[in-house]
Amino acid sequence: MAKRTFSIGGVHPNDSKISRECRIEPLPIPPTVYISLSQHIGAPAKPIVAVGDKVKVGQPIAEPGGFVSAFIHSSVSGTVKSIGPRKDLAGNNQMTVEIAVEGDEWLDGIDTSDTLVTDIPEDSKAILEKIRLGGVVGLGGATFPTHVKLSPPPGSKCEMLIINGCECEPYLTSDFRTLLEKGEQVVVGAAILKQVLGGVPCTIGIEENKPEAIEHINKVIADLKKVSSKFDGISVMSLKKRYPQGGEKQLIDAVMHRQVGSGGLPISVGAVVQNVATALAVYDAVQKNKPIIDNSITVTGECFPKQANLLVRVGTPLSYIIDYLGGVPESASKIISGGPMMGKAIANLDAATLKGTSALLFLTADQTARGEASACIRCGRCADACPMGLEPFLLNKLWKADNLEALEKNAVQDCIECGCCLYSCPANIPLLDMIRMAKADVMKEIRARAAAAKAAAEAAKK
């Protein structure tokens, strides 16, 4: 059978996974951590500790600030030094809790042993509550609170759970290493998610450039199936390598051959997608009572002498990680948080890691040079590359004409900002920059309209 992939668009960047042989090593705990209170999509968390409080590893330090929000836990033990604004990696102020580290004392009740717990609790509500209390958010990039995603709106039915092990961004290897080193935990995590969603079948999607991971997970599933029937229905699907396969809607298309409509949610076609790292976090939260206090981060780049996959406590300053590995190399001109396609350039190395930080990537001036933009020759490569079926060249023109109505009609709000258009444009037109702004403006318009409609409906009620 031909290997599956998503049906439209996509590009084939060189995967450059040069850190794939590096085992995940724990990074020593830094002397001070800075834990941001906006580590997820949605409302920032509200601090529940005060300056001077003693905290332990895994102790909640902030509670959700709204429905779409998450708990945040202390990743170290020590004393809260300050709670206030601190610059994040883009230089914008975020509320941050600063904790001076003293020892490494864990909160009672957290199982820190390595033993694999394969008994899966029956009660879905209890599982969801544990996920919520564990501050689990989607670690595939969007950091959407997981418990919200696992509570589908009434009337919708989940038919398949997809575990996203694509890691289609070049350079990143933390999910790959997690699959290899913690495959058992990931599969148990997947089984727990499956349980919450009502025992639906589960597919772990892995791209074909990670054959070791595919083989290992297949073995793990076979072993676990002997232990309990709870693991029936979990399977691995090897996918053709193509960027952005790890995009939620692309992965659903690849695995289920179903397309999520414009503005729709994955649940509208019966799918729930969770990342490999999220499955591991779910395992930790449910089976070990361990909230998200650390995550694995790939530190890589051709110009970086020491490739590494590190297990880093949340809130570790980026400069601490880099110094541990020997400092910023001379030839690096840009440091990116995340992969080269969707990652963000770091403007401030004093910033600290977040739950969703996946990589630190060092690129040279040559690698990041932007060619001079010239006129659009209407070759249509961007439209060919767009995995959402949009026409980037048209959106660019409409944005320049400030035509928000036409932008909305052409579904600019569906853009997933994967960067395929910019990657494929032979004229070096900054398509993504323009579309991102157009999307922001259109979303603002849509939200304003929704708010106005709501207000009107309420007024009509009265």
Partner: protein, 322 residues
């Protein structure tokens, strides 16, 4: 043969007349009555179609002005009082004279005062840059320097100064249409009163960080210390969110705040003489000293009076005890 020609001419003529009649009737029936004053108003407008008035163009302004019951909400900043008085005379309204305004850039983070901490290599547009991150200097409120305001100005009144890296407003050309204020993603440009003979004062900073952070990012930032607000005798300065703001309608242009500002964030323009900071400072300090002494004397007097008042009841008590 000749008959055919005659018939043809006759039929065409009759047809023409009938159709002309139909056209006339239709035109009469669906006639759009337009106020002739709209055209008249449009004629006196500057015709820049800049949108500074809040309407799509001069024609849209003229339509709105004719419809409105007065001219309170409709004002053409480009034409100013001259055009508005013409509009008023056409429409028979009264026009309230407005003091002329001018665009003012409220950032003085020059390359020297506000060193770069990283290089921006993205698309050269302030709006794009602002959507990506806080900027290439330590100040996340200051000018991004890509010149969106310059591109937005239809009158050529803005230009980037290559030395300071900041936009400069040409007062002669600026019409206060407000296009630049909307183009700046950091909202740094403000329309302020032009002031008598062009003299005006303003705080050239929008940094809302606390003092030490602001100072670290930019040597000429407003640190929100509040000295200016304490110095001002006209109640024209408020400090909110660590940033001072001078209300140009209250400011009496005494320049005392400028002399006292520790970072030089308060700017004055078009004053005939340079400010003698030390003299003004000495004068203010002398005044403040006197005020303090007076206050101390008053407090002492009040205290003495209070004591005197307090002594009596004690005497009474003593008496009662006896």
């Amino acid at each position: 043969m000749s008959q055919t020609i005659i018939w043809t001419i006759a039929i065409i003529t009759v047809l023409g007349l009938v159709l002309a009649l139909v056209l006339y009737l239709v035109a009469e029936k669906f006639k759009v009555v337009e106020d002739p004053r709209i055209d008249e108003v449009e004629k006196v407008m500057p015709g820049a179609n800049c949108g500074g008035c809040g309407f799509a163009g001069c024609r849209a302004f003229a339509e709105a002005a004719v419809k409105a019951p007065n001219l309170d909400n409709n004002y053409c900043p480009v034409g100013g009082n001259e055009v508005m008085s013409k509009v008023a005379s056409i429409l028979g309204y009264e026009v309230k004279e407005k003091a002329p305004m001018v665009a003012v850039v409220r950032c003085n983070g020059t390359c020297e005062a506000r060193p770069k901490i990283n290089d921006y290599e993205g698309y050269p547009s302030c709006k794009v840059k602002a959507s990506l991150y806080s900027g290439d200097t330590g100040c996340s409120f200051g000018c991004l320097g890509c010149g969106d305001c310059v591109a937005a100005c239809k009158f050529g009144a803005l230009s980037m100064d290559p030395v300071t890296g900041l936009p400069v407003v040409d007062e002669e050309k600026c019409t206060a249409c407000g296009a630049c204020t909307k183009a700046c993603p950091k909202s740094l440009i403000e329309l302020r009163l032009k002031g008598p003979r062009g003299m005006r004062m303003y705080v050239s900073c929008r940094n809302q960080d606390k003092g030490p952070a602001a100072k670290k990012a930019c040597a000429s930032a407003c640190i929100g210390c509040g000295i200016c607000a304490k110095t001002c005798t006209h109640d024209a300065i408020v400090v909110e969110n660590n940033i001072a703001y001078i209300d140009s309608s209250k400011c009496k242009l005494c320049r005392e705040c400028e002399a006292m500002c520790p970072t030089g964030a308060i700017h004055s323009v078009n004053f005939p003489k340079p400010l003698d900071k030390d003299a003004v400072k000495a004068r203010i300090q002398e005044r403040q000293k006197r005020a303090r002494e007076k206050a101390a004397a008053e407090a002492a007097a009040a205290k003495a009076a209070a004591e005197a008042a307090a002594v009596k009841p004690v005497e009474n008590n003593v008496k009662e005890e006896k």
